[in-house]
């Protein structure tokens, strides 16, 4: 006796969260059944293995049918075939587009192209995430990228509108899209200690301050034909950053800056002497990062530079850590360092400085951890 056909169709589509997770994780039906057995479901419910097999098959079939709709979440809301309560719809979408930290770190900043897709089996082997799941996550990134690529307006809002994500997930995807578009390097060994959250935080700050969208509302550029407002960095702004060089090139200005910072921080900073000794290197590092952003190639290396080239002694982030600057001291220093520039009468690029430094300071503080 073999079951030729075995189906269950509810007026309200039954969604088993546990099976959904196994399906998303890319397990085959038999693997999923084995995992469910191991989780002790047979003992809990008194069901037989055959029942479990049939149930799992059924859910997999449903998910397979739903997958087409999940590719365009608004379709899931308007379709008539599966009656699913709104809360369940949200859950389906959210889980389908959720991604693994390990996976996203592997592809963050990479071009979402066929080439990268070919590397997925390596990623799968490296991370232990099934290839199927890797493909789904990669395709999700790419799908979202394609949809919002040409759109105007806020990146996160566009994503939310077209994919009905939660606020959190929409912002994460905005970061992924932003990184993919600007191809920031994140895979270097030195950057391995950084989490996706760190990058997403920086991405959000950069989107807010450094993109065209950030100044989009300014009347100066009402109907510019530049489309990807939130996705591309503001080229003009990057060009202008060269002007900041004066802060380290002009010796008077640098000395004045140093003395003002030191006066303000004397007694407040545990690492005052180190700071005082290294001030010029530190400042040079911070300003040089800005100056380098003119070239596309260097933009991609922003995070590498932030970690390697911002000088505090020879380097910023790393040395700080090795010398155990407490985070509070770093914050105090960076705040004072950027605020004090306003008191430099000879310096004319105050607005530019703020736009640059506010974001950079936020990023640096976020990246400054073990």
């Amino acid at each position: 006796m073999t079951s030729e056909l075995d189906i269950f169709v509810g007026n309200t589509t039954l969604i088993d969260e546990e099976v959904y997770r196994l399906w998303l994780d890319g397990y085959s039906v038999s693997d999923a059944v084995a995992l469910r057995v191991r989780a002790g479901i047979l003992e809990q419910t008194g069901a037989t293995a055959a029942v479990l097999q049939s149930d799992t098959m059924d859910h997999y079939r449903t998910f397979h049918m739903l997958e087409r709709l999940l590719h365009a979440p608004p379709k899931l809301l308007h379709q008539l075939v599966f009656q699913i309560p709104p809360s369940r719809q949200a859950l389906l979408i959210e889980r389908y587009y959720a991604f693994d930290e390990a996976f996203v770190r592997e592809v963050l900043g990479k071009k979402l192209s066929k080439g990268t897709k070919k590397d997925l089996d390596d990623i799968s082997a490296k991370t232990g995430i099934t290839l199927k799941s890797c493909r789904r996550q990669f395709d999700n990134f790419k799908r979202v990228f394609k949809v919002v690529e040409e759109m105007r307006g806020s990146l996160a809002d566009n994503i939310q509108q077209h994919f009905l994500f939660s606020d959190r997930l929409a912002r994460d995807y905005a970061a992924i899209v932003f990184f993919a578009n600007n191809r920031f390097e994140t895979a270097k060994k030195k950057l391995q200690y950084l989490s996706f959250g760190d990058f997403a935080f920086c991405a959000e700050l950069m989107i807010q301050n450094w993109t065209l969208g950030a100044v989009g509302e300014a009347p100066s550029k009402p109907d510019s034909q530049v489309d990807d407002m939130d996705m591309d960095l503001d080229k003009e702004f990057l060009q202008d950053l060269k002007e900041l060089k004066v802060l380290v090139a002009d010796k008077d200005l640098l000395d004045l800056h140093k003395s003002l910072v030191c006066t303000a921080l004397r007694g407040k900073l545990g690492v005052f002497s180190e700071m005082e000794a290294n001030f010029k290197n530190l400042s040079r590092g911070l300003v040089n990062v800005a100056a380098k952003l003119t070239h596309n190639k260097d933009v991609r290396d922003l995070f590498v530079d932030l970690v390697e080239k911002v000088h505090l002694g020879p380097q910023f982030v790393e040395p700080c850590r090795s010398d155990h600057w407490p985070l509070g001291d770093v914050r105090l220093f960076l705040n004072q360092y950027s605020v004090t520039v306003h008191s430099l009468d000879g310096f004319r690029h105050q607005a530019l400085w703020d736009r640059y430094m506010d974001t950079l300071r936020g990023c640096l503080l976020r990246l400054y951890h073990d």
Partner: protein, 1013 residues
């Protein structure tokens, strides 16, 4: 009444890409009704076209309005080649034809293609303007309401229940026409869908005409079926119960019996014939005494007066003269009818007087040359079988099929008479077809009915009173209707354990739902008898003979299995019994499902004793005693599981889960009056004893084993195949309707009866286990209306289709809410004044203390809401209407727990064909059928939503014919579903509505002011 049909095509969405080059579609729409076709403009390059068409107007006869479906075809415009069809929508406009149902159909319909399934949606608005035209010779029956529900629909009350209506129409099946060889599968499927739609429309119209002839205004328990007879054609047949229904609009309409001629005139579209008023046909008292039946009708001579004062002395004596009188009356009322059958399974209080048992008849027919044997049997308490004469017919016209059914119905009628009953309730008909052999089956429950509802309101009030008083609630229906000395079959009779006045049988089998006032001990459960019998492949008459020879044995075994399983559960009655015999090439399958309960009125069932035929060696003896112990243990366990603690005779009221005060007092009284009979009862209880199973061969051994293999549902789960689960009544609002289909392939090597039985048994048991597992998140819950259908699509394939609804209930509130529930269920078809008094009380307890209106006011508004005219209708629309896709509930039950049905919008009766030539690509047979059933649900929901409804009640999947050819990568499936589209309002929301509409109340009570007697 000719009318004007108006259609507007608004927009489309999610259309498929028809032009690969542009990834877009140039869509336009053809709207066709009858022979008229309109087209919209082509909306270029869009998957979401906005046609916003003008109103397309069709001026048509009402006959066409009833028969024809509105056909909407979405096409892709192609300049150079033929336009490609995207898909179609068929809209049944029948609900627009009666004033109380929907007024407009408007909404998103899935665009359906028989090859590709659903391909996007289209937004359509449909309206009908009917012109009044009182043509007496009309062929249409607009205005007759149809309900699938097999009880009086919630917002109506029955003025008269007229009785049985049936009709069938026959046509050639397009699939078997010569043209099918040259047309595409799509064209063939569409021709079939359209034809069946037309035939259903025609059938409904014809039934409607019959109802009008009977001066009714509605058909309740409407069941329409298709017989796909292959070469010999396509039969669409329907049965139902004609009624005159009255809308429950305001309390004013509640009070009167509503029999005034003026009211009647308004209700029925035809004028009354003059004879109407004096048609009542009681027999004269002299004849009553003899108890003989009269074939002639006499005019009335107020017989009731003669019997006053004699009722109380009649206890114990065959029901006494009163019973005879009742029977006479009913009989005469029913004798005017050819077939005193009722498709209802639940009845207004007081309607059902006695139940005799299940009657069924089957007949084997050959579809091409009609020259075949017929077999008929009675099920239930009798086991008499006989073969009918060989009948011959010689044409293949509807008359032939009519004659076939007439013959079976005649048989049913005579069985009912043998049981001392004049009516058959819970009546249904079915067929099973394999090649050219067709088994026709009919079954129902023989019953004695209260004439009050059957006649046109001439029954005197005092008689009604007497009936009410003479029938103790909760047990009256169990009392035997037949003559004790002249029993049609051997049965143990005892005095009723409830009232102790009348005799009851030891077990009771019925096809109806458990009467709401029945006194039940503990909970009920689903039981099934499953049986397979191999038969040789044969041709024509030899085949038919072989089948009809097998049938009696199958019926007998099914009956024995049911009886054994019933005893094993420690219960004594079956409700909702449905026995399905399915014929295949090389086997016959029998599947009986029923809900077992313990009726307090019937004696406690004896146990099962096993007896070995040959008590030779010790190990065998030991084995027998081991089995005996297992069986006894199972019975004890079941009693505990289903909470069957039948009370000691003296305390029986305390143990009863339905301690209705009124009933209690009556019980007490009857006990004190007949105290001397108690001893007699006890004696008879001692005599009646265990059911003996003889194990004399391996077959019998198998049977005993199979008895023990049925696993009870996991804890927290209950199941039944009736509307409501006896013993559970505190439903919460979560419901989940589902359909599950399984097909197994038998290995052809070891096809013995035993192996076959085991396979079939496992199939059903595993299916149930899967359901319990799938729905475990709903625990505590009950599977209600579990409906199994078996078919044998091929030699070695068995297909089982199950549709049921899982309803959650609250474990803790069981006791407190018992009473409220009873009152609620009584509302089903309330006519009694006392309920009127109970009703406000119930609401009173429900409503919040902060409620600004006095409870009485809330009641009236609630009652008024079904009237739903004009603006009020919009208000009562589902609250979810403004979300993108409104939720539409579906349930095979006639009610929605925790909600009130405020309006019936018309019946849904849909037929779909789906075919594929890329079975593997669509996920194999499971993927294909899963998608198709999901699509069918979606189309049903879309139609209901377009009618303005938010639920389908009494939903049923009548057919699911699945055929596959994996070698060719092909499969085809036909599905037929039906149900009643309704608007329901949650009980918690009712109060809100009532505060919004204080004025509606006023208007309604003014309008309903005609007071009649």
């Amino acid at each position: 009444m000719p009318g004007k049909l108006k259609v507007k095509i608004v927009a489309g969405r999610h259309l498929p890409v028809m032009d690969r080059a542009s990834d877009l579609t140039d869509a336009f729409v053809e709207v066709k009704f009858g022979n008229t076709t309109f087209k919209t403009d082509v909306y270029l390059k869009s998957l979401n076209p906005q046609w916003n068409s003008e109103w397309f107007k069709f001026e048509v006869d009402d006959e066409d309005l009833q028969d024809e479906p509105l056909q909407i075809t979405v096409l892709d415009h192609d300049t150079y080649s033929a336009n490609d069809a995207i898909g179609k929508v068929y809209i049944d406009i029948d609900p627009l034809l009666y004033s109380e149902a929907a007024t407009v159909i408007s909404g998103w319909f899935p665009i359906y293609d028989t090859i590709h399934g659903i391909r996007g949606e289209i937004n359509v608005v449909v309206k009908v303007d009917l012109f009044n035209d009182l043509n007496r010779f009309r062929q249409s029956s607009c205005g007759v309401k149809f309900f699938c529900t097999t009880s009086i629909p919630k917002c109506y009350r029955a003025v008269i229940i007229h009785g049985f209506v049936e009709e069938l129409v026959v046509n050639e099946d397009p699939e078997y026409q010569w043209i099918d060889r040259i047309r595409t599968p799509r064209a063939s499927n569409e021709a079939r869908q359209r034809l069946i739609s037309l035939m259903s429309g025609e059938l409904q119209r014809k039934i409607g005409l019959k109802v009008l002839e009977m001066r009714g205004n509605a058909v309740v328990g409407y069941l329409q079926c298709f017989d796909l007879e292959g070469e010999s054609g396509l039969v669409v047949r329907a049965i139902g119960t004609a009624c005159t229904l009255d809308k429950l609009s305001s309390p004013a309409a509640f009070l009167p019996a509503c029999n005034s001629p003026s009211k009647e005139m308004k209700e029925s579209p035809l004028a009354h014939p003059p004879s109407h008023g004096c048609r009542s046909t009681h027999n004269s008292p002299i004849h009553t005494a003899t108890g003989s039946r009269l074939t002639q009708n006499f005019s009335v001579s107020v017989p009731t007066l003669i019997y006053t004062g004699m009722g109380s002395g009649s206890a114990g004596k065959e029901g006494g003269p009163f019973k005879a009188l009742l029977r006479q009356q009913t009989q005469s009322a029913l004798e005017q009818r050819e077939f005193p059958f009722f498709t209802l399974t639940a009845f207004p209080p007081g309607f059902l007087v006695h139940v005799g048992g299940v009657v069924s008849a089957r007949s084997v027919k050959l579809l091409d040359r009609i020259h075949n044997p017929a077999f008929v049997g009675i099920m239930g308490n009798t086991r008499s079988y006989k073969l009918l004469d060989w009948n011959s017919f010689n044409s293949d016209e509807p008359e032939t099929r009519d004659a076939w059914w007439a013959e079976i119905r005649q048989e049913i009628k005579s069985h009912a008479k043998a049981l001392g009953c004049h009516a058959v309730v819970g009546y249904s008909e079915s067929t099973s077809i394999c090649e050219e052999v067709c088994i026709l089956s009919a079954s129902g429950t023989a019953a004695v009915l209260n004439p009050r509802f059957l006649q046109d309101g001439t029954v005197e009030g005092c008689l009604e009173q007497r009936i009410e008083e003479n029938l103790p609630a909760g047990c009256g229906f169990c009392h035997i209707p037949y003559d004790e000395l002249n029993m049609p079959f051997p049965a143990h009779l005892t005095y009723c354990y409830n009232c102790r006045k009348q005799k009851v049988p030891d077990v009771l089998f019925t096809t109806i739902d458990l009467p709401t006032d029945a006194t039940v001990v503990g909970k009920g459960c689903l039981i099934q008898a499953r049986l397979c019998r191999l038969k040789k492949k044969a041709q024509a008459e030899a085949n038919a003979t072989a089948i009809s020879n097998l049938l009696p044995f199958m019926e007998y075994e099914v009956h024995t299995q049911l009886m054994n399983k019933l005893k094993l559960k420690g219960m004594n009655a079956l409700f909702g019994l449905r026995i399905q015999i399915t014929v295949g090439e090389n086997m016959l399958m029998g599947l009986a499902s029923a809900t077992a309960v313990y009726l307090a009125a019937l004696p406690m069932p004896g146990g099962i004793q096993i007896a070995g035929k040959t008590p030779s060696d010790g190990s065998y003896e030991q084995h027998i005693s081991h089995m005996q112990k297992k069986i006894s243990d199972t019975i004890a366990k079941n009693k505990e599981l289903y909470e069957i603690n039948p009370p000691e005779i003296s305390e029986e009221i305390i143990g009863s889960p339905i301690p209705e005060p009124k009933q209690r007092s009556r019980l007490l009284r009857s006990q004190s009056e007949s105290s001397d009979e108690v001893t007699e009862l006890d004696l008879s209880h001692g005599k009646k004893d265990a059911f003996v199973l003889e194990i004399d061969d391996t077959d019998a051994m198998e049977d005993v084993h199979s008895l023990l293999t049925d696993v009870p549902p996991p804890s927290g789960f209950y199941s039944c195949n009736t509307e409501i689960m006896p013993g559970i009544n505190n439903w919460t609002s979560e419901i989940q309707m589902f359909t599950s289909v399984r097909v197994i392939r038998l290995s052809s090597l070891n096809l013995t009866n035993q192996a076959l039985n085991k396979n079939f048994n496992d199939l059903c048991e595993n299916l149930l286990k899967s359901l319990y597992f799938k729905l475990r998140s709903m625990i505590p819950c009950c599977l209600c209306h579990v409906n199994f259908t078996v078919s044998l699509p091929e030699d070695e394939l068995i297909q089982v289709t199950v549709t049921a609804v899982a309803i959650t209930f609250d474990k803790n509130q069981a006791l407190q809410t018992t009473k409220t529930h009873i009152e609620k269920s009584l509302q089903r078809a309330s006519t009694d004044n006392e309920e009127l008094l109970q009703f406000p009380l119930e609401l009173c307890s429900d409503s919040l203390p902060s409620h600004p209106f006095p409870p009485a006011k809330a009641v009236t508004v609630e009652k008024a809401s079904p009237m739903g005219e004009g603006n009020f209708r919009n208000r009562s629309a589902p609250p979810c209407a403004n979300s993108t896709v409104g939720v539409v509930k579906m349930t095979p039950l006639s009610f929605i727990p925790g909600a009130k049905i405020t309006k019936y919008l018309g019946i849904i009766n849909m037929f779909f064909i789906r075919e594929t030539t890329s079975l593997r690509e669509e996920g194999g047979v499971s993927g294909f059928l899963h998608a198709f059933i999901a699509e069918v649900f979606a189309m049903v929901r879309a139609h209901v939503a377009a009618l303005g409804g938010n639920a389908v009640v009494s939903y049923i999947m009548k057919q699911c014919v699945f055929m596959e050819n994996p070698n060719k990568n092909q499969a085809q499936c036909l599905i037929n579903v039906s149900g009643d589209a309704v608007i329901f309002v949650r009980e918690s929301e009712l109060e809100v509505i009532s505060t919004q509409q204080p004025t509606a109340n006023c208007q309604q009570s003014c309008a309903g002011g005609e007071v009649t007697t």
